[in-house]
Every structure is written in C-alpha cells, then in structure tokens.
Amino acid sequence: MTAQDVLDLSAAQTARTIADRGASAADVVTASLARVAANAALNAFVTVASEADVRVAADVAPQGILHGVPVAVKDNIATTTLSTSCGSRILAGWVSPYEATAVSKLRAAGAVIIGKTNMDEFAMGSSTENSAFGPTRNPLDHSRVPGGSSGGSAAAVASGACRIAYGSETGGSVRQPAAFCGIVGVKPTYGRVSRFGLVAFASSLDHIGVFGRSVDDAAVGLQVIAGHDPQDATAVDVPVGDYRAAAGRPLTGLVVGVPTEYYPASLDAKIRAKCDRAIDVLRQLGAEIRTVSLPHTDLAIPVYYILAPAEASSNLARFDGVRYGPRAAADDLSDMYERTRSEGFGPEVTRRIILGTYVLSQGHYDAYYLKAMLVRERITQDFANVFASGVHVLFTPTTPSPAFTFGARSDPLDMYLSDIFTATANLAGVPAMSQPIGLVDGMPVGGQLLAAHFREADMFCAAYALEHALGPEALA
C-alpha cells in the first residue's frame, strides 16, 4: 500500500497500518504535504510545515492512537513549531512560546501537525472570507466558500490532505464549514476540551472542535484532546467516555427529538427533505422520534451578537502593540493604540469590537449584556427541559442553506444568520455535531445532532448509525 493510499484510510486505520509497518509515518505525512501542495489553490493553510520537519516529527512520534496521523490545526490554536496568526495582520508571524493543551495531547497521541489552517480573522465570520491571508475556497466548488470561521481546516479534510483537523467554534465555526464541505464536524460540551492555548474570541462560547472525514475520524480526533486541564478553570473534571464504543450500537431505546423551531416554514424545502430522510433512517434504525420544542431558539442570534462581541471587545484588548505584534509609529500612547489596532484589525473584527464596547458601556449594559445573559439562561433551560424529558439527542439541519458563493453575504446581518441553527449549542454549552446527509444542488447539506452536557457518546451513537445507514447517499 502506498503512502498516498494510506492517507485515504481512516485515521485509526492509518495509525494501525503504521504500527504494523505497512507504511512509514514519515512517508504518510510527506504524502499529506503533497496533497496540500496539490490543493494550494484552496488557500486552506496559512502556514504549512516543511517536509523535513514533519518527517522528523513522524519519526519520533509516540505510538499512540494517532501514531503518524497527519492533522491540521486552525491558526488560532497555539503551537511552538508554527506561527499562530489567527488570520490577522496583528499577529502575522507570531510564534507562541507555549503550546495549547489540545496540541500537546495531539502530539502525545502521535499525531503530526502538517500546518496551520486559514480562518476568518479571530474566528469572526462564517465564510473564511475575513482572513488577512485571503479567502479559502470550497474544495467541492471553488466558486463557493468553505464556511467559517474554521474554513481552512474543513477544506484540508475535504480535499483529502488529512483525515482529522482541528478548528474552533464560538457560534458554529466547525459545524457550519463541516456541513458546507460534506464532512463531519464536532463541537464538544463546553469544558470538555481545554481552551488553554486557543486564542480567545468569546471565552464563554469558545470551544476547540474537530473535523473528521468520517464519524470515526471525528470521534478519534475528539477522544485524544478531551479531558480536564488544570490550566483552564472552565475545563470540567468529569471522566471522558469512549466515543468510538458507540459504533455499531443499535438505536433501540434512543429517543431523537425533532425541535420544531429548527424547521421553520421558510426552511429550504430541499434541505427539509434531506432532514426528513435522515429522520426516517433513524426511525428505521430503531430510534423513537419525538417532536419537541425549544421555544427561545429565535433569540439565539441576537443574544449571540451581544455576548460574543462583548467578550471579544475585552479579549482583543491585549493586541495593543506593546508586547507582541506590529506597533504603529505614533505621537503618543493613545495614538499608538489607535493606529496599531486600526491597521492590525480587519473590518469585521473592528465592527465587533465596537459593538461589544457599546453593549458593555455605562447606560447600555443592563439593556444589552445583562438582558442577553438572562435570555441565554432561558435557551440553556430549553435544552435542559428537553433532555430531562427523556430525549437523548436532537436532530436538526446544520445550516439554512448549502455553501454560498463568494461575496454572496456581503451584508453582515445576512452572514450572521448562517449561524441560526448552530449558535444555540454554544450558548447552552451542549455538544453538537454535523454530518453530511445528502447533496442539494450539488452541494452537501449537514444534519446536526445535539446531546445533553457531556453526553457526546449519545450523539456519536446516532451519528455512527446514520452514517452507516446512509452510506453513499450522504454525499448524493
């Protein structure tokens, strides 16, 4: 088996093949780099590791569950070997002196990082059009966006460069690009994966997430980075389940909730049809389907666009030109701040900083931030009520539309509505994932599964079964 062939095996099989000496880890990661190079037009990567470096890394990689498996990492997750620029001029070329906990865990599992993937600047966007390093293209149709903000990681997996890639989510930035690129994207429970080393956008909503070519790739990818971390006070110390154990398990006894609010009258009929088909499949597999309600769903986007910018306005204050990043020439201190930040941040980041500063200001705090926090509690309670009623997972569309063309969502508000079905899970902190459930007009559509806090295993159980049952239909 050639190294190129090994790349098309699942991540777990790749590691096993290397362990059995069916291929050398160094050759596999070299083949991965060749695929990256062949797909350079996608602009999926901000930085690609050198062949020499990945071969050395592959040679010394521990014989863990991802031994020799090439992975891509979003450019807002700190690595000491490659720069971490967050898709921004203000961090262009910045190399972290420390590594994210998730990256340390990846390396300990034997994975080899092939590069840092392109993203909307500071993860603010839903199309990867907001990168200071140019947009990323959708591998399935170069005229379309890959989704965002983790568009580079999605494109890396969808183009076959790697089976697993890491991204981050604040409002759907893994699930939405996964849906747009026809792959699997998982956002775990808030606190399941350490955020230490993930450059913050909105701390209470930020998650590290994982892309997989298959459900199993995503499950393995999550398995290795999940767990408590004493360096993240919001990481939760509960045991990590075995996500892969759910593979092949029957769905008898599983209750799947279908929340009416995620199927509005305005939903694209073709997307609805794909969802209906997936729900039918789940029913045929033995699941009980139950119609449920999450009444505060329509408030998620307004709440999200108050809370996320509020936290961002504070999180991004550290990019001030004092300790790292470029510093603009200026006459005095406030001039230096103003110029450095005006030149360093792109328009969407600037817009959100201004928005966030406004909603936290004296006289506006109660009306915006405080009110939004109260509504967030309602949204969280909606999920708690549904899961307490005996529902194990929810099934919804991931996005209201398939991948759109470049420039199609030039109005920020239109763009913000891309997250309408995904932002709820970030607000509530519940785990959620997207997997392909068919093509609409030639582009993939994602089906979303959500579960109760720390019940990732329930979600994977349904996902494995659905993936298996749909087979090639998932991308047809």
Binding site: Y98, Y337, Q362
Partner: protein, 487 residues
C-alpha cells in the same frame, strides 16, 4: 500665603474621607499563574504566558490567595459571600497586559464590616464602616524616568494577588484616617497575610476626600488622592486636598471630580496623568473564571487557623495588671507578645518581664532591625536573668551588662555574672568590713550620721558601693547602715 489664611479657608467645612486600601497578599505565587511574587527580581523575570497576556493563555485562581482573603474577611468580621464573581475591569494601559484587570465588582468575596479605630470622640469609640473587601490582581509597573521619551514596563508585579478593603466615607479628619489605617495595618499584620510595606507597595492607600459645609447631609464632590507612601503622608495629603477643595468652594467655585497625586517631597497635590477610557471600565463577569464558591466547611477551616487578634491580646494583658503603656507596647506588633509570653511562662512577674521586653529587648530588636524570633536570645535565658535580679543575685545595673553579654555569648546569665564578677556580695562579714572602712575613712560624716542625720545614708551607701566596685548588695548595705545609726 499665611497659615492663618489657609486655616480660615477650611473654617465651617467638614472633611469627609473614605479609604481604599490595597493589600498585597503574601502568597508564593501570583493570583492566576505560577509565577513567583518575589519582590526585587530583575524586570520581567517573574512572568509567563498568563501574566504577560500572551494570546490563548488563561487564568487559574490561586487557592492560597483565596485562603488569605478569607483570613482578612474573618479576621475583620466581614460577611463572606458564599458565591462571589470575578469581573473584568477594562482599560488600556501598557502595564496592564490583558487590557483588563481581573477584579470583583458586583459580588465581592466579603462585605459589611466595622472597625473600631481606637479613638474616643466625645467619649464614644470611633467605629468606621467597611463597605467591602474584594480580590483582584495587581498591574505591572510603568517606569517613566528610565529612558528618555520612552516608558519601560516591568510586569513582575502583573497578576500579584491583592485584597482591596474599601471603607465607607465615614472619617472626618486626617487623624481619623491615620487611626483607621494604623488599626487596619496592625490587624493585617496579626493575620499574617501581607508584609504591609508601603514603600515596597505591598500596602497602598487611595483616599477619597470631599468637603461640605457643616450640617449639610449631601456629600460634596469627591476627589481621589493617590501616591502616598506613608500613613503620615496620607494625613498630610488629606489636609492639603481638603484645603484646596475648601478654597475652591469659598471662592464660589465647584470641585471637579478628578484623580490627584500626592508629592510627598514637595508636600503638594497635582493632577494625575489621565488613563485612556478610565471613566468607563465596562465591567462584566470574567468568563474565564467560574464563580468563586466558599463552603461553610472551608470557612470553618480558615476560622480555626485565625490567630489571636490585637483587641483580644490587649484585654488579656490588661488583665495581668500591666500598665496601659505596657499593653500597647507589647501588642503593637504581632511578634512581641509571643516573646513576652515565652519569657513570662518561665518567670512569674509580668511587670518585670514587660519592663525587660519593652526596654532592653525592644531596643535590640529595633537597633538590629531583626525579627523577635530571629534574635539570638532564647526566652529561657532572659527569664533566668530576670530571676537573678529578683533573687538579688545581681543588681539591675549588672543585669544590663549581663544582658548585653547574652546576645554574644552562649553562657548562662549566672555564668556570665560569675565570670565578669557581677554577682552581688551579700556576705555579712564582707559587707560589714566595707561599712567599717567607709565610716573610718569619713569620720565627720560618720559622726553626723550616728548623731541622727539620716539623709546621709544615701551618701554612705554610695561610698560602700564604690569601695565594693559595685558588687555589694545595696539593700543589705542600707540595712547595715541603718542598724549602725540606731545601734
């Protein structure tokens, strides 16, 4: 401008003062990372991704800092909130690397205290209300005078844990403010949670001061005065700022709310350089830190570790019939008492032990600038020395000589007394011999004394002491001479 005019300006106005005291907690590591809090390290040495605010770094609360904050809360009798919230205080400044300070805003760890500041006003003890005590992190240091046209930033202090204790605006004079601060510091030192060193910045005071005509209920516009590096500096700064505000009011103006800096060398107040955006800190709950939960069990555990506090110790010493002066001296700092009591345990007379501790021993501690327990003077040796005096083995003046030797020698006080010939002679024959000699050498005085001129006893005792080279027991000499006069 004459002093008389300045005094006139304040006539009819009442000073209103509230104090914010920042206390650096005595932890080994910073509030939210593992960096050392060691003072005086080379610039930016005690830093890491967290306190440098590198992208992606996250704070984790230091449990020891919480424990020390709880000691403060319980030591002062504040109400502890079972659930408190960290908040971000947002402003841009180069020595604030994250662009926000992690503090507590709406829900601090402790609230509602009262502090008896040890002053009587109209016969009533002055008790000042304390609004709250909250946890926060320190900023770094901006050094403006090191480089021409550039500011240097040292982030060693960035993230060092603080407790800020905020009083109600209930003080009415610089004297009350000074008493409040001294009382506060004394208790903080007893609680052993901070060095409370104003010069090193481990205790900092910001004063809010306003002026209003006597009888007016509404508070005047306050100004915040910073940069005082001693309690007397606070008192002087308050007086100066109060005069300035009264001057503005007398001239028909209105006081503008602002932050001012005290220049202790010049004795002047001047406006602070303004910090960008300082008017609106945009507080919101710190999303990187979960709410701080304090269980009853944890409170009970910390309460058990609380030391005796000054008021209780003062009461205990007063019950030993010590003078007010002795009690104050023995309790002024936390370390004197344990030394005093260690000696007292071996020697029953509290008054003489207090005299020694407050006299000779304190002089050595002050002179050497050392800690009581670091001094090479074991309580047992001091007790033995005091016993020698009590038993008349050595005189008081000889005891002082022996004391000096105790600090440089490992010999017992008695061995030193014998070695240096300081043991009092109490042998009747030897004493009688010296008395006889003195009387023989001074026949005139001897005759007058024998004739009943009793006041000559002092002179004669002195002559005997001189003859004995100070070794004679003066009490016995006195008795001998008395018997000669009557006999």
């Amino acid at each position: 401008m004459s002093t008389a005019m300045e005094t006139d300006v304040t006539a009819g106005f009442e000073m209103v003062v509230g104090l914010e005291v920042h206390v650096q907690l005595k932890t080994q590591t910073k509030a939210f990372c593992g960096c050392s809090t060691n003072f005086g390290a080379p610039p930016n040495q005690n830093t890491c991704p967290v306190c440098l605010a590198l992208p992606g770094a996250l704070p984790v609360l230091n449990a020891r800092a919480v424990e020390l904050a709880l000691r403060v809360a319980l030591g002062f009798g504040f109400t502890v909130n079972a659930r408190s919230i960290f908040a971000r205080k947002n402003y841009f400044y180069p020595d604030l690397p994250k662009g926000y300070q992690i503090s507590q805003h709406d829900t601090p760890i402790a609230e509602h205290g009262r502090l008896d500041i040890g002053l009587l006003i109209n016969g009533e003890p002055r008790v000042i209300g304390i609004t709250r005590a909250h946890m926060e992190e320190d900023a770094g240091k901006s050094i403006h005078d090191r480089y021409e046209s550039a500011t240097a930033v040292d982030l060693n202090r960035s993230g060092v844990p603080l407790v800020e204790i905020v009083s109600e605006p209930e003080m009415r004079s610089p004297e009350e403010a000074g008493a409040y601060l001294r009382t506060l510091k004394q208790i903080l030192l007893y609680l052993d949670i901070s060095d409370c060193n104003m010069e090193e910045g481990s205790l900092r005071v910001d004063a809010n001061v306003s002026a209003r005509p006597f009888g007016q209920v509404r508070l005047g516009t306050k100004c915040e005065v910073k940069n005082m590096n001693s309690f007397s500096g606070v008192e002087r700064a308050l007086a100066a700022e109060f005069r300035r505000q009264c001057g503005v009011l007398v001239a028909g103006g209105s006081v503008q709310q602002q932050t001012l800096l005290w220049d202790g060398a010049k004795g002047e107040i001047r406006p602070a350089r303004s910090k960008e955006g300082s008017s609106d800190y945009r507080y919101f709950p710190e999303p990187d830190l979960p709410p701080l939960l304090i269980s009853d069990a944890e409170l009970a555990r910390v309460r058990e570790t609380l030391p005796e506090l000054p008021a209780a110790r003062r009461a205990r010493y007063a019950a030993m019939k010590l003078s007010e002066y002795d009690v104050q001296e023995l309790t002024a700092d936390p370390a004197t008492g344990p030394f005093f009591e260690a000696v007292l345990a071996l020697h029953a007379d509290a008054k003489s032990v207090a005299n020694w501790v407050n006299g000779e021993v304190r002089a050595v501690v002050n002179e050497r600038d050392t800690a009581w327990d670091a001094m090479s003077l074991e309580p047992a040796r001091l007790a033995a020395l005091i016993d020698l005096v009590r038993d008349g083995v050595v005189s008081s003046s000889a005891a002082k000589k022996i004391f000096a030797q105790l600090l440089v020698s490992t010999d017992t006080p008695r061995a030193i007394a014998e070695r240096d010939g300081l043991v009092q002679v109490r042998d009747d024959n030897a004493l009688a011999g010296w008395v006889d000699e003195v009387l023989a050498e001074h026949p005139v005085e001897a005759a007058r004394y024998a004739a009943g001129e009793k006041k000559l006893v002092g002179l004669l005792v002195g002559l005997v002491m001189k003859k004995s080279q100070g070794r004679a027991d003066p009490k016995l000499v006195n008795q001998l001479l008395s018997s000669r006069a009557t006999g």
